[in-house]
Symmetry: C2
């Protein structure tokens, strides 16, 4: 395709100076005739001249690039965005960014990577960080004044807008739903419980529902794994063997519930006839399953949408007044019980009548 | 955090000129003492000075940015990367890019967007385009000399490396599997069949398997929808009502098979007892289902991996010799039958014994 078209090529074609072309393309063309302007624009279009955004960003100090960063917390090395949850957020962020003239740079990030370096080297206009904990990575991010929005975090900072759901309320609702359906022996499946992490909040919600109903917490009913299909699959065997008295299980993530249901099916334990299962997230795949998974819906798409909209506002404010420091309150999105077919009512809360268990 | 650290800040701290700092940071420091060098590097680290990649790219003509573009062909506006197939490729590309010092810019793209403008404005070092057809969009992309790798396309060009699977062989294998299990009345579910598109190739494979077995093609057994869950769900009703003689269905995408299976379950038609179903792709979710979906595995992760590795090679060659024009052969990855539980053997190939059908 030959070499790149330059300002000089345009100037030569139209028969003007490169300075004239530059003025016109940068909108500073007040003394240049309409005819010349039109010939310049025609030549630009015909010859395929593109502004170099990298050069432009040096002058305007805007790169029109947004970084999305997801720390690797559960040892998924390559499968980062293969997690439906992240990819649903990503889709929504990309769509809004595109319609506002921004592009998205995505990064998975190990704890020992230096994301701040990337952010500054690229001159990112803004950052969206998903699921970060209060650790060195967060401390690192806090050192920058690039506008940032965080999703699903309980980091105490006040420096950034945080968009999350009410995790405690969500699993409270899930456990209460089982209790309302007559269940008393209710298990809890979760990922690693970390101080101020999402899993800890969900665990607290489960315990609150039990306490309210006067059900004593039995630590043996709490199964801590990792947030993934295989962990749910493995835990299904432990549940069947060690705790056959369970009639219902609250899963703190759909993907755990999905693994659990598959594992139970392989052991010929029927959902919901033998055991009721409730998830958390409402991933698209919940409806694909038979039985459909009853779950707590969180507005995943809205998280991406609101994050990007708020970030665009923050970028504008930052451009107008870089020194202004804002204080933010968390945006907490509502959660909602979605009833499908994986929970049934039990008459005798503590008894299981299924054969073979 | 205050303003950005500049070369001059470093120079002032160390007590040298900015030129000296610049020499050292650009590796042109041969006449500068080791002690000064070390003090400069220490100051850079301590004060947090970052190279501006946008400025650097103007000099080196390398941006270390890779663009991934997915044209919107089936009217999915925001949900682009929420499709498991794309997000699995994306994860793998991102991982390899990161380990090679590149970042990824992702773009969904409508036909009327000008991706070439973005590519040039950002100075992309390379492009990976997924699932493009021979249309205006491809004609547009062909105009650039930015190194590019395409995934899953049958566009005739020779200008770019194309990584795909043998789509025809895949659905041939699927249909043949049903035939080997005794099925004769075999349906075909697919997305929109486009000239030189993936669906067309899969349709050809299905027909070839039938022809080889001496089974006449019945056009009423071919159901054309869109590649999505809801399309599979809808088609399940038509299949049950209009073609109860079908004992097996070849689906040209897993997501169609998943919708079909859910729809059949809602009508109390059992898989595989009443009807056998086979998919295509081997999405991760195939194993989540009960029964697990028998399908044709394509190496989705490998597509992303190979695409990125080949692109890195192409970028290097392009830097060494921008004028060289290469001719590429398609890389065709093998497909493989994965047996799970959604297909059963039938004795009487054309009869259905299930009650209520």
């Amino acid at each position: 395709m030959g070499r790149k078209v330059t300002l000089k090529d345009i100037a030569d074609r139209v028969g003007v100076s490169t300075a004239t072309v530059s003025y016109v393309l940068n909108g500073k063309e007040q003394y240049i005739s309409q005819e010349i302007k039109e010939r310049i624009f025609a030549a630009v279009k015909e010859m395929g001249y593109y502004t170099n955004m990298n050069a432009k960003s040096l002058v305007s100090r805007r790169s029109r690039l947004i970084g999305i960063v997801v720390p690797q917390t559960e040892g998924r090395e390559t499968q980062l965005f293969a997690n439906n949850f992240y990819s649903e957020i990503l889709s929504n962020v990309e769509y809004i960014a595109r319609n506002n003239g921004y592009q998205i740079i995505i990064s998975g990030m190990d704890l020992n990577d230096n994301y701040l370096r990337i952010a500054h080297e690229r001159g990112l206009d803004g950052i969206i960080a998903i699921g970060i904990y209060q650790n060195e990575f967060f401390d690192q991010l806090e050192k920058t004044d690039i506008p940032m929005v965080i999703i699903d975090s309980y980091c105490r900072s006040g420096k950034y807008l945080n968009i999350r759901i009410d995790d405690e309320e969500g699993s409270y609702t899930a456990a209460k739903h089982l209790i309302d359906k007559g269940h008393r022996n209710i298990g809890f499946l979760c990922g690693h419980i970390q101080e101020n992490g999402v899993m800890q909040k969900r665990y607290i919600g489960y315990r609150r529902a039990l306490a309210e109903a006067g059900i004593e917490l039995d630590e043996r009913f709490v199964f801590e794994g990792t947030v993934g299909y295989h962990s749910g699959l493995e835990l299904s065997e432990r549940i069947a063997k060690e705790q056959p008295q369970l009639t219902g299980v609250v899963c703190s993530a759909d993907i755990l519930a999905i693994g659990l249901m598959k594992g139970l099916a392989q052991q010929n334990i029927r959902v919901p006839e033998d055991i009721s299962v409730i998830g958390f997230d409402d991933l698209e795949i919940c409806q694909y399953l038979s039985p459909g998974l009853t779950t707590i819906r969180q507005q995943i798409a809205s998280k991406g949408q609101i994050a990007m909209e708020k970030l665009l506002q923050a970028i504008d404010r930052h451009l107008n007044d870089p020194e202004e420091e804002e204080k933010f309150e968390d945006v907490v999105l509502p959660v909602e019980l979605i009833e499908r077919d994986s929970v049934r009512e039990v008459k005798n809360g503590s008894g299981v009548t299924a054969p073979g268990r």
